[in-house]
């Protein structure tokens, strides 16, 4: 079974530029998550999708971050414009059921973003 795929693996941009990350979850997984992991910290949930609807985006900085999950499968996370403090690893995860804390999440390798 293929795991969660993310691209690109690394991205370097200058502040005020835009960037997009892509995630392909495990086939058949209903729930998709985006996390931000700043160096030295644990992952922080940015947004959770159930199929193609948003379940929780309370910690997503909506003035600059946006995310979508087309047709309930792939997802993209965009930052526009980027700030220095957005430098982090962006992790995508998926889970097979309808979400909820009991559901095991499977993580992709992440995209490391450096904002100069």
């Amino acid at each position: 079974e293929a795991g969660v795929a993310q691209s690109p693996r690394y991205k370097i941009i200058e502040k005020r530029q835009s960037v997009a990350f892509w995630c392909n979850p495990i086939s058949g997984h209903a729930t998709l998550y985006w996390y931000q992991q700043i160096l030295g910290q644990g992952p922080k949930l940015l947004i959770q999708f159930q199929n193609n609807g948003v379940v929780d985006d309370s910690q997503l900085p909506k003035d600059r971050f946006s995310a979508e999950r087309l047709k309930g499968v792939d997802s993209t996370l965009k930052i526009q414009p980027a700030k220095l403090e957005d430098s982090a690893v962006y992790l995508c995860a998926s889970s097979p059921a309808e979400g909820g804390a009991r559901d095991t999440q499977y993580f992709g390798p992440g995209t490391r973003l450096t904002v100069l």
Binding site: G42, P43, A101, F107
Partner: protein, 111 residues
């Protein structure tokens, strides 16, 4: 609000020695508790989880964790560490649709 504390930022143990990584949580009810491991350049992998029942939970790679309600702790243990266990370990607490991670403990294994 729920929170997770991992008091040890970095731990070094010798190969073959026992390991205990500490995790304390704050939550009003019985939470769902998890331990994940993250190797360099890799995503997080679930080691074990606790929802209810037996407070001693067995996981993959020879790890176990014990839930102690009175101490609000969920410590991870392994009787004999292997060099391949060197990684970052994260404790997490979940409820409904919310998952909170600790800051992580980095494990170094000496030969």
């Amino acid at each position: 609000a729920q929170s997770v504390t991992q008091p040890d930022i970095h731990i070094t143990v010798s190969e073959g020695a026992s390991l205990e990584l500490r995790c304390n949580y704050s939550y009003g009810a019985t939470p769902y508790l998890f331990w994940y491991v993250q190797s360099p350049g890799q995503g997080l992998q679930l080691l074990l989880k606790y929802f209810s029942g037996d407070t001693l939970v067995q996981g993959i790679k020879g790890f176990e964790a014990e839930f102690k309600r009175s101490q609000s702790s969920f410590n991870l243990r392994k009787p004999s560490v292997h060099w391949s266990d060197a990684a970052e370990y994260f404790c997490a607490v979940g409820s409904l649709n919310d998952m909170r991670f600790g800051a992580g403990t980095r494990l170094t294994v000496k030969p």
